[in-house]
Amino acid sequence: MARLTSQSRGQLAAIAQVRWHILTHSLRTTKGALELFSRIVIGIVITAGGLGGAVLLGVVASYFVSKGKPEALALLLWPVFVFWQLFPVMATALSETMDSSHLLRFPLNYRVYMLVRLVYGALDPATVLGTAWLLGITLGVGWARPGVLFLWTTLVLIFFAAVNVLLTQMVFAWIERWLAQRRTREIFAVLFFLAMISLQLVGPMLSRYGDRSNATLHKISHVASPLQAILPPGVAAAAIASAADGRYVLAFAFLAGLLLYAAAVLRVLGVRLRAQYRGENLSEVARDARPLQGYAGVKPGWSVPGLSNPVAAVFEKELRYLGRSGPMLLTFVTPIIMLVVFGVRGRSGGFLDNSPDLALPIGSAYALLLLTNLIYNTFGADGGGVQFFLASPASFRSVVLGKNLAHMAVLAAEVVVLGVGVSLLFRPPSLLAVATTVAGLLFAAPLNLAAGNLLSLYSPKKIEVATFGRQRASQLTVLASFILQILIFGVGALTIFAARHYASPWLAVILFLALAAISFTIYGLVLTRIDPLAQRRREILTTELCK
């Protein structure tokens, strides 16, 4: 890169200064100070992880080289590579990333813009840890074979680090591109969610197919071995191994391979950065131009028997909202997916194979638990729309009731689907299992709704339904929800225990129904007090949800 002009240097200094100001100003608030504190704690953990990992990798690298197996360094470089690439992607789900496009209104040249992206993008834990671990490997190799191989390893791993930094930036840049639009963002969120579910399934699948896993692993390794050799960690290991064996021409060829990777990644990253630099319009406004095929005016809203106009309107609105959010929908199908996974019978027979009558109550409890994500922050997805609820003549009780009914309709539908699933995968649930499940839900659901309605008013937090992985409720709500779930599950366990103790399974149903009467009373009491409470909390609601 050519020498930077004094103006460019001044711009880089100004950007560094403004980031410093942002940091120091954030300390004015308690939240900012706590944020810094948590960063320091995380920093200590990262430092410990970096040093510990570096020592461990260094010792293993030294062992491989001293035993004449330098090609085995690939076994060390692969975990470093995978961590370096995956960790920042996972961290994207947990935090906001710097939007460098704000800088484009200033007269920055492309080189400075790219440098800013690379420098600030590289200041992440993955780079720090990855660099520390590569340093450990380098020193380990140097310890075993000081001299030319140490210097060569240093050179190779510098290039390997560069490939990692550039690849991370490239992945980030493209993820940002996909996250910029609602539709691609939702597709991405669904893929992310499926990946998370897949990770949960690794354990059950291994336990079911454990006896076959060795053969499968052999098959996988047979295919993967040549593939890994041509990817950056394999190429870097081969460059070091070739030099260790004295085949310097081959070693240089592998080093050139790493350089090619770096150049290719830089090129793809450049496509994104150039598009950003030129200024791109990612608006979806102009794209959806579906013609007016058969448009015959606006259709009336849903008619829901027994519900007043405002309650029915909110009910319809909630279900439409849920139906249009991919991540939300997946939240609801998760219990069904889990049931299917556990229902795939292995040779040994799982927990639910032995006690199929537990499948429906466990699945239903899981479904209710997932639904608390919505119930405990019921206005979160409405955002600024909450102003409409406050300004409209409909009572807040109607609004809350409409939302609660929509959520319960989802739960009911899910329980029915679970029932069908249990029937197909195991056996039709017994009447006792169905009655216990329904009675248990009648006890637990109104309590959760009552608590959720209160917490939604006391501790609201805006939700962007198209994003994923971010905290969906306030810390207060999370804590209160946790305590209530412990109480509900505790009471539920005691009820089941009492029924077993008296050898009367139907006693649990009767007890749950008695408890349900109390739950409904509590729910009703909370509902009657919602309007004055909402009036008192309207400022908090608008402040938090209209951000």
Partner: protein, 277 residues
């Protein structure tokens, strides 16, 4: 011109406030505001940034509780007859209060039903409003995918679907292009012609001057002027004459000049920023 604090509390007014005050901790955002808006008036509520405009409109629409004072809308006490008041008014608040994951048609029918209209009436009015606002050509588009101008038009359509007698608009022309602004103005003038009262805040003084018959100016939380444009103009001229002050223009004072004179916002740039050329 009526001076601040002198407006009589009158229960026949469309909007009347009595010593309306709102504090945020130690900060007094709105202090002893006595507004009076007669039925059928197109009323502009002006003030510099941070003067208390949005706080006032939020209190007038039930989005924020006053610390003290009274609000009466069409003779109804806001605190005691809040639901009856809300039935009579339409609101386009600062954040527009839209539900992004509904289509425009779904949003309008939803709003109509929340105001107690039956399903068929909601559907009919929604169709007419979408066509009038030129939003009907993409019925499947979600509100979140609307442009800013489209969202403003939809918010106004939603605010009038129940046929309110008073319409509160917070910065309705902010970020709106000339075509969308034309549609909005056309809708508002039609409402005024039919006897509705409109209360709007705006920084675009030219639009206020063209549309509004009456204006109030709030500055640092206090009402500093209220009356018809002519009354305000006469007041400024009389005050300048009394203080032997030269007015910025020799012809008819514009609303901008009245505003700047009232809030003391005039500043000579000639002596400063010489490097600007």
């Amino acid at each position: 011109m009526q001076e601040a604090g002198n407006a009589p509390y009158n229960s026949t007014a469309a909007i009347a406030t009595e010593n309306l005050t709102r504090r945020f901790g130690d900060l007094v955002a709105v202090q002893d505001v006595n507004l009076r808006v007669s039925p059928g008036q197109f009323f502009g509520f002006l003030g510099p940034n941070g003067a208390g405009k949005s706080t006032t409109i939020k209190m007038l629409t039930g989005l924020l509780a006053p610390t003290s004072g009274r609000i009466e809308i069409l003779g109804l006490d806001f605190e005691r007859q809040v639901v009856d008041v809300k039935r009579q008014i339409g609101v386009v608040p600062e954040g527009l209060a839209l539900f992004g994951r509904l289509t425009g048609a779904e949003y309008l029918t939803f709003v109509g039903r929340m105001y107690g209209l039956d399903r068929e009436t909601c559907a009919r009015r929604a169709t007419e409003l979408l066509e009038f606002m030129q939003l009907a050509d993409q019925p499947h588009k979600l509100v979140t995918d609307y442009s800013h101008g489209m969202q403003k038009k939809l918010a106004l359509a939603a605010a009038v679907i129940h046929g309110p007698k008073i319409l509160f608009l917070d910065e309705p022309f902010e970020g709106v292009d000339a075509i969308a602004a034309g549609t909005l103005k056309s809708m508002l003038q039609r409402m005024i012609a039919r006897g509705a009262t409109i209360f709007l805040t705006s920084h675009v003084l030219e639009i206020v001057e063209r549309l509004c018959s009456h204006v109030a100016i709030i500055h640092r939380g206090q009402l500093v002027a209220q009356g018809s444009l002519e009354e305000l103009r006469a007041g400024v001229e009389a005050q300048s004459a009394a203080q032997a002050e030269a007015l910025p223009s020799t012809g008819k004072l514009t609303l901008e000049e009245i505003f700047l004179h009232t809030v003391g916002g005039t500043r000579s740039a000639e002596q400063e920023l010489s490097w600007l050329g």
